[in-house]
Amino acid sequence: MEALYATVTGILTACGIYLTLRGRTFPVVVGLTLLSYAVNLFLFSMGGITTGHTTIVDSGQPYADPLPQALVLTAIVIGFAMTAFVVILAMRTRGDLGSDSVDGQRTDEPREERK
């Protein structure tokens, strides 16, 4: 089980990294999202991967480590905020430069309906 878990984390990381190295904003944003999934899984597993444990007191089951869970929970929400910020930056770049290239180069792509 551990090996499988680690493999999944590794593959998701690799996918995320590859996409963040692309030259357009949207794949980079998707890559960051994938990467944050991988990171959350990785951090979560620092408390061990357990089946049928719980973080509820007095529920009769053995305890899972609650601390990584609490940290990952906020990480998920903050990750969303950061993704949102990057996405809006990407839109702003396109709006101001007319290109969605991450290097901010002005390219002469056909401008669609412009308002």
Partner: protein, 930 residues
């Protein structure tokens, strides 16, 4: 404690002129003068004690961990400088009142001046090296403000910048030296450091320490080769030059030499570096003082020359020479300040400082002529004036210096040459300006200055004469006290007298005087000689070298920063993976000792789909919408993974966030190209694939290595204290809102800030809107499908109920503010989607920013609330309450905190999504068609 007032009063005094700016110029000057005058009184009150050999000290802890105390001392040397700084400072205040024109802001000038005075007093009285350095830098900063006082002049700005750069760089060297010295001695207290001469001199760090201290002193005192900033600092108003560049700031460097003399001097290194620097500066300054055509330029170079003389005296490693150095500090301050003020009067009354135009002024201002002549004579070392006494001591000491071996005769010879030049430029200052024909095209007709503008000069000249005639009475006590501080152990016998009999120094003086007159008469030959050389403008070469440094830094930066994010990412990830890989190499074996858990087919299938979905997202990333669908599969399976491995809270959060993310990405995708063009070269793609595979491999190995090792958790505390301490059964939630509530408060603040930042970024965004979908089909005309509208309207109350339910039970069962807030936000977004912005806004006519802000405020106030009960920030309490109908319910203050989290999440998420959705509303083309 009274000692503190000496520094503190001028500091407070820097506010006085600002406060009294409206009360008229004279009043402003008088009010400004009050506090330094009191400080001077305090110094006078301490004088008998200091002369009696006592050492008043005061010390307050500031940052004890760094060895930084607010500690002051008042030994003889400090007292001498306090007198100089405050005494001349008061005269300058009076002088500046008449010097500054109506257009200049007097309050600003006085405020800077008082700030500078504070800094200077701090340097000379500090009993802690770090504190001294603090004031040292403060003098650099305040002198920057003073030199650049006429900020409309480019010359003033550049001169100020140059002075700041040079003295600031020297200050950094000094700091390094101080840190090294503190390291050697183990304390930054000056009193302690002064007791450890042997320890410092025998340390292997002695040479760096010496070098760094000397760099600090030489840059401040404009010693060769750092002398170039001083002439350009003459762009300052003349009172500033008279104060900073004669009596105080440049003296800070030689003060440092005197201060550190007990611990650093006496070695060969000290002798060679200090003596040769001093000698070079002495001659360099003297020569250029003879050549300059600018009145203040002459004085600036003569100042450089005299500072070189003082430095030279400290370099001689003889106690009497150090005494002579201290003595010359006093003398130079008096005659040079008066000369600067006289030059200021000439400038003020004639409108020019060009010596070629200024001639024969004695007819217009006879009284000023007399004052300037006496001061110049003192500078030249004419008997019966104070300059003569210290110059004689200097010449006598130069005869004693024997460290150059067979070439030792050169030192007195060059010292005499310096004196010759000094006589020549002093004579030039008087003869060329006040006599020698008639003035030529002056902008103004000169006349005597106002009565009180001359008063400061008169006082200083009086001092020159009295010291010159009665040295024993006037300066011997304070000189003795100052010497006791500079020269450790047995004090040398000081015998100041006008007449020492016919001896070699007297003969050298006589030679200097007569040869000086001769040099002056032959000055035209020197000018002709000098004209052969191309003039080097120090400011231009300084600016040039600054620009060169900037350019080369730019060049170096451009190697790394070419503006390509892709490149940065690559370098960043590459270095990260290298660091991580090195860490992994130290691990003896990848697998730990823990036994592995068995696999089951369900998990294998799930993991397979998760991996394939991830890969699908990558492989289809050119078709962006498809890529998004795969991304949502990844998100769902990640939350299933959380559920599978005992983390229901995470599963819930991940589900909600995943939906919100997909909605967000789709909102954004509408304004972005639907497809990614193929533009990466094959080489780049394979390079990126390689890097990401290595990265993934390293992460997987790391994860496996951790998972197979026994777990040592620190969570026992949280598990044990969750119910008794936090009053909640859901440990994850209790950690979030209670144990680590401060973290959460920070995080929701970030969330709120992100929302506000996005709101601002969307402001006036120019958009590109596709008029058809990616296959070229026109958009459907049905904006709000009826079925969708009715379903979502039905769902709304139910979903809000779910949200409240998840929120309320969060403290005891999976749930909580984060999840509940996201659910509520998603449902409201659903209404936006199905009914449109206008419909929704009519029913929910409020902004989301206040909600998010209120949320953060509630959370923070809950935390602050515990202060009311005298508990630390964010202490929670809880209790059980019996409420009719509902029954026994447990309420915790953590619930309030969670409410803050809830509101912040709702507010921020809606701020992001709804505002993003609203962007298009006013521009929608189909609306116009309707």
């Amino acid at each position: 404690m009274t000692l503190l007032l000496i520094v503190l009063l001028p500091l407070v005094g820097s506010l006085v002129p600002i406060a009294s700016a409206r009360s008229g110029r004279t009043t402003c000057a008088w009010l400004t003068a009050i506090l330094p005058a009191i400080a001077l009184g305090i110094a006078a009150w301490y004088t008998p004690a200091v002369f009696g050999g006592q050492l008043p000290q005061v010390s307050l802890d500031w940052v004890p961990a760094l060895g930084l105390d607010i500690a002051f001392r008042l030994d003889g040397l400090s007292l001498l400088f306090v007198y100089l700084v405050l005494g001349i400072g008061l005269l300058i205040i009076l002088y500046a009142r008449y010097y500054l024109s109506e257009k200049d802001s007097m309050s600003r000038f006085y405020a800077y001046l008082m700030l500078f005075m504070t800094a200077m007093l701090g340097i000379v009285t500090a009993d802690n090296l770090l504190l001294m350095w603090f004031f040292w830098e403060l003098t650099s900063l305040s002198s920057f403000l003073l030199i650049g006082y006429w900020s409309h002049l480019s010359e003033a700005r550049k001169g100020a910048r140059m002075a700041l750069t040079v003295t600031g760089a020297g200050g950094l060297c000094l700091l390094a030296g101080i840190l090294l010295m503190g390291h050697v001695v183990g304390s930054y207290s000056l009193t302690t450091v002064l007791e450890h001469r042997e320890l410092i001199q025998q340390s292997s760090l002695y040479q760096p320490i010496l070098l760094l201290f000397l760099l600090g002193a030489f840059t401040k005192s404009a010693q060769f080769p750092f002398q170039f900033w001083l002439p350009h600092a003459m762009a300052a108003p003349t009172p500033v030059s008279a104060y900073l560049h004669s009596a105080t700031m440049v003296k800070a460097g030689v003060f440092l030499l005197a201060r550190m003399y007990p611990v650093l001097s006496g070695t060969d290194e000290w002798f060679y570096i200090v003596t040769l620097t001093g000698l070079a500066t002495l001659l360099y300054g003297a020569f250029f003082a003879l050549i300059k055509q600018d009145l203040k330029g002459v004085l600036a170079f003569s100042t450089i020359s005299h500072l070189g003389l003082i430095t030279l005296l400290f370099g001689f490693n003889s106690k009497l020479a150090a005494v002579a150095g201290v003595f010359h500090i006093i003398n130079h301050a008096t005659f040079k300040a008066s000369l600067f003020m006289a030059a200021g009067i000439v400038d003020h009354e004639c409108g020019t400082r060009d010596i070629r135009k200024l001639n024969g002024l004695w007819r217009y201002m006879p009284y000023t002529t007399v004052l300037a002549a006496v001061a110049s004579a003192s500078m030249a070392g004419v008997p019966l004036l104070n300059g003569f006494l210290s110059k004689e001591m200097f010449l006598a000491q130069s005869l004693e210096a024997q460290m150059l071996g067979g070439l030792s005769w050169m030192i007195p010879a060059l010292a005499t040459l310096g004196s010759v030049l000094s006589v020549a430029y002093s004579l030039r200052f008087i003869h060329d300006v006040f006599f020698n024909g008639e003035p030529r095209d002056l902008p103004k007709t000169p006349h005597e200055p106002p009565r009180y503008m001359r008063l400061p000069i008169e006082i200083l000249i009086l001092l020159c004469i009295m010291v010159g005639i009665l040295p024993g009475i006037m300066v011997e006590p304070i000189l003795r006290a100052a010497t006791a501080a500079v020269v450790p152990g047995q004090a040398p016998e000081i015998h100041l007298a006008l007449w020492h009999g016919f001896n070699l120094p007297l003969m050298m003086s006589a030679i200097a005087l007569s040869a000086g007159v001769l040099v002056y008469l032959l000055r035209n030959h020197i000018y002709r000689f000098h004209r052969q050389f191309r003039a080097v403008n120090a400011r231009q070469s300084f600016e040039f070298s600054v620009q060169r440094v900037v350019r080369s830094a730019q060049w170096g930066l451009d190697r790394f920063e070419n503006g390509s994010l892709q490149r940065y990412m690559f370098l960043l990830l590459l270095s990260a993976v290298i660091v991580a890989a090195f860490g992994l190499m130290d691990v003896p074996s990848m697998a730990g000792l823990k036994s592995l858990q068995p696999l089951d087919p369900v998990v294998v299938t799930g993991a397979g789909i998760l991996c394939l979905a991830g890969l699908g997202t990558v492989m289809l990333h050119r078709r962006r919408l498809l890529s998004l669908l795969f991304l949502s599969v990844v998100g769902m399976f990640v939350s299933l993974t959380f559920a599978r491995f005992s983390a229901p809270d995470l599963a819930l959060t991940q589900l909600a966030v995943e939906v919100v993310t997909i909605i967000l990405l789709m909102l954004a995708l509408f304004f972005l190209p639907q497809k990614t063009p193929k533009e990466s070269s094959g080489r780049r793609v394979s390079r990126d694939i390689l890097l990401s595979m290595i990265f993934g491999g390293v992460i997987a190995s790391l994860n496996y290595a951790v998972l197979t090792r026994p777990l040592q958790s620190i969570s026992t505390y949280f598990i044990e204290n969750s119910v008794p301490g936090g009053g909640g059964h859901n440990i994850v939630n209790v950690i979030l809102v209670d144990f680590r509530g401060f973290d959460t408060l920070g995080e929701i603040t970030v969330l709120g800030i992100a929302g506000i930042a996005i709101y601002k970024l969307l402001n006036r965004l120019r958009l590109f809107m596709p008029s058809s979908d990616m296959e070229g089909r026109p958009w459907s005309p049905d904006r709000y499908p009826v079925i969708l509208s009715s379903v979502s309207q039905t769902l709304l109350p139910l979903a809000l109920l779910v949200s409240v339910f998840i929120f309320l039970r969060g403290h005891n069962l999976p749930g909580g503010g984060f999840i509940a807030g996201l659910v509520a936000a998603v449902v409201i977004i659903l209404v936006y989607m199905s009914r449109g912005v206008e419909w929704t806004q009519r029913r929910m006519s409020f902004n989301y920013q206040p909600i998010a802000v209120t949320g953060v405020a509630i959370a923070a106030l809950t935390g602050l609330g515990s202060w009311v009960f005298n508990k630390p920030f964010l202490t929670s309490s809880f209790g059980h309450f019996d409420i009719p109908l509902i029954g026994d319910i447990e309420l915790a203050t953590a619930m309030m905190f969670d409410l803050g989290v809830y509101l912040t999440v709702v507010g921020s998420t809606l701020m992001i999504l709804a505002n993003l959705g609203k962007v298009t509303t006013p521009h929608r083309p189909s609306k116009e068609k309707q």
